[in-house]
């Protein structure tokens, strides 16, 4: 039982990181109709900038600095690329984001080099024990911070005018335009929120005992099964999907290591993703699209 609780806790912590990344994907998709393949690189940039700023200022300031840099990068991409290409079709835009991903990756390597660096999290190697279960402080911080971010997002979307405008744009762009909502500004806002979420995800993805390295961006793509499982247009689904993927990976590593050459836990999230696509293609919490013909 202790092992189950231990692994379950770590699975939830990892899952919350995937949830934050998945949320970023979903917000961009809903807000601007774009699946942004460069989002993983935004996660990496967020972690690298925090790490670079940490030695020179208090952590909270380093975090804000990283949010500023990453959001600025996202807005630059959105303004110079997305707006110009949005009329060319979804495929063109998605391919363009792949190109952005390559460019940002190269930029990360040019600025910070190719090696592993330190840990970018706000807490170190400390732990808290509840009975026989050890709770790393870095994992507690991950879960608490993620929950606070989710509450903040909920309040934003439900209680603020910008949140309402963003929801309206995601629901029906033409109707939102007709209501006087600046849809272009809403596109930018969705990318900015996603970039901020990327920073939070990045610092916890690189929290002790993990380290910052260029491969963080690739890990971020592990959130894709989370989005599909939860539903491409559902914020709640992104969170649930992320936690499911995290739990599968960690519990799978613990209980299924004797099967599939020890790689079953790697594959299971994708198996689940395929099952969901077959049985419920819009995801567990996604909405079924209806077209009037």
């Amino acid at each position: 039982m202790t092992l189950f609780l231990q692994l379950g806790f770590q699975g939830v912590a990892l899952g919350m990181v995937y949830a934050l990344i998945a949320l970023g994907f979903v917000i961009m998709t809903k807000g601007s109709n774009t699946f942004n393949f460069a989002h993983g690189e935004f996660v990496a940039v967020g972690a690298y900038v925090v790490l670079a700023l940490m030695p020179h200022m208090p952590y909270w300031l380093a975090f804000l600095g990283s949010v500023f840099v990453t959001v600025s990068l996202a807005l630059l991409v959105e303004a110079t690329l997305l707006r110009k290409l949005i009329s060319k079709g979804l495929t063109t835009v998605v391919l363009a984001t792949l190109g952005v991903s390559v460019m940002v990756h190269a930029l990360v390597l040019m600025v910070w080099g190719v090696g592993t660096k330190g840990s970018a999290g706000p807490v170190g190697s400390g732990t808290v024990e509840i009975g026989d279960v050890v709770l790393p402080l870095s994992s507690i911080a991950t879960i608490v911070s993620s929950v606070l971010v989710l509450i903040a997002l909920l309040v934003f979307f439900r209680r603020t005018s910008y949140g309402l405008a963003l929801r309206a744009t995601a629901s029906h762009q033409e109707a939102a335009l007709a209501q006087g909502i600046d849809v272009g500004r809403m596109f930018a806002l969705s990318w900015a929120i996603a970039a901020a979420l990327a920073v939070v995800a990045g610092i916890f993805l690189a929290s002790f005992p993990r380290v910052v390295s260029p491969s963080i961006a690739v890990v971020a793509l592990a959130a894709i099964p989370a989005i599909v499982i939860g539903g491409m247009d559902s914020l709640a689904g992104a969170v649930v999907g992320g936690v499911i993927v995290g739990l599968i990976q960690v519990l799978g590593a613990g209980y299924l290591s004797d099967y599939g050459g020890g790689r079953l836990h790697e594959v299971l999230p994708y198996v689940l993703m395929l099952l969901v696509l077959v049985v419920r293609p819009y995801g567990l919490f996604g909405s079924r699209g209806i077209e009037r013909v």
Binding site: L3, Q6, L7, Q10, G11, L14, H105, A106, L109, G113, V114, G115, T116, K117, G118, S119, S125, T127, V134, P136, S138, L205, F208, P209, R210, V211, S213, P214, S215, V218, V219, A222, Q249, V250, L251, A253, G254, Y255, S257, G261, G262, R263, H265, E266
Partner: protein, 415 residues
């Protein structure tokens, strides 16, 4: 009809060109009577380096590649080989199979040999091409699976040897006996290389009295959480854990173990450590040892002195690392092969391949001298143990030694 004729002729021309393009240029004789193959002129010898300059292992790879290039620069400053300068032709594999194939194709007609192919993934991607092109290749893929590929040479001790020797060293340190057994565990990847490392550890444990393998958890390269594996290690009660991991996984395992209150002695193969891990793992490395098949920058031997002097002369802005030492040694072996081929007046690929047979390479004290034999055998069973200094550099705690257990494992597996 013309509408069909033009495209047909164009396709035919393209097919003809690509059929011709795969073949390297034939040999010719230089003005000094030396037979010259692809990449060789009267003035230069081109040697390919296929490494990861921008991918997941780029930190170590870039450092290693520079070590080889500095060796070439030093040789060139002293007249080169056969009066010819060695020119490094670099290709970025990004540690990706497709990229490796493309990078190889981009240079295969223009180089005499490959002085370095980094990583088992890259070697596997191009070993058919290497065999087809008779391309002598040095593989920085220190494992036995690589060694047996045709035209591929591993001129240093393999990771399996480092781990096997690590087992015997740990047993000696603990005073292990049948009455006072030492419990050990191995941590390896789920790929074929991980299986080879685990097998070497098992064999060494079997051959060493008083040693028992109590756990063998594995990890996938994409794993970001190692709680499950560390819990298994902790529950097994292993006193010593052998790490056949990469640097990122090393940080994950050592850090997670610290969080779970598990503090074994760690013995890592050389590929598991990079100096940049010293900062995130500060305070957790008192019982961390690295088994290396070659010396480190802190060694007071002619080879390291030469390396440092060469860096000051040819790469003053770069800081050598222990991966640079590895690259330097590969450069040493490459130059030795070229020199022997030159002495035999045959700088073709066949000439280099012949030169590599039973080639003696003196590494000037950085690691014991080796003989490359037939290219399919482990060239050296020697390694030594190191601790980690505050700056992440390795400091030896003993001399090079070759355990009977490692030799027995090699013999049993036909190496």
């Amino acid at each position: 009809m013309i509408r069909k004729l033009v495209p047909t002729l164009a396709v035919g021309a393209l097919l003809t060109l690509s059929a011709c393009g795969g073949a390297a240029e034939s040999s010719s004789d230089g003005s000094d009577g030396v037979k010259m193959g692809p990449g060789v002129t009267d003035k230069e010898i081109k040697v390919g380096i296929l490494s990861d300059y921008s991918g997941p292992i780029a930190e170590a790879a870039t450092s290693g590649s520079l070590g080889m290039e500095v060796m070439f620069d030093e040789v060139n400053a002293n007249g080169g080989v056969c009066g010819r300068k060695i020119v490094a032709v670099k290709g970025d594999t990004k540690y990706d199979a497709q990229q490796t194939v493309q990078a190889y194709r981009g240079m295969s007609n223009d180089v005499l040999m490959l002085g370095e192919v980094l990583g088992s993934l890259s070697i596997n991607a191009i070993k058919t091409n290497i065999e087809r092109d008779d391309m002598p290749s040095m593989a920085i893929s220190l494992n036995t699976a690589t060694m047996v590929a045709k035209d591929v040479y591993v001129p240093l001790p393999v990771f399996e040897v480092e781990l096997a020797n690590g087992v015997t060293w740990a047993a000696e340190q603990a005073g292990a006996t049948a009455d006072k057994p030492l419990k050990i565990a191995s941590v390896t990847g789920t790929d074929e290389y991980g299986k080879a490392y685990a097998s070497a550890v098992e064999a060494a444990a079997e051959a060493t009295p008083g040693v028992e393998v109590v756990a063998e958890p594995t990890f996938a390269l994409t794993d970001k959480d190692f709680t499950a594996q560390v819990s298994q290690l902790k529950d097994s009660g292993a006193d010593v854990v052998l790490l056949g991991t990469g640097p990122a996984q090393t940080a994950g395992f050592v850090g997670t173990a610290a969080q779970l209150g598990y503090q074994p002695t760690w013995v890592a193969a050389s590929g598991a450590w990079f100096s940049s891990l010293a900062e995130p793992l500060k305070g957790l490395l008192d019982k961390f040892y690295v088994s290396t098949g070659y010396g480190t920058l802190s060694d007071d031997v002619p080879g390291i002195a030469a390396l440092k002097a060469a860096y000051e002369k040819h790469a003053p802005d770069a800081t050598p690392s222990n991966f640079s030492v590895g690259g330097w040694l590969f450069g040493d072996a490459t130059v030795a092969a070229l020199q022997k081929a030159c002495d035999d007046k045959d700088l073709t690929r066949e000439g280099v391949t012949a030169a590599l047979q039973d080639l003696d390479v003196d590494y000037q004290g950085i690691t014991p001298a080796v003989n490359l034999g037939d290219g399919d055998s482990i060239v050296s069973y020697s390694s030594r143990m190191n601790t980690v200094a505050a700056d992440g550099e390795l400091e030896p705690v003993g001399d090079f030694y070759a355990s009977d257990a490692a030799k027995a494992w090699g013999a049993d597996n036909g190496f």
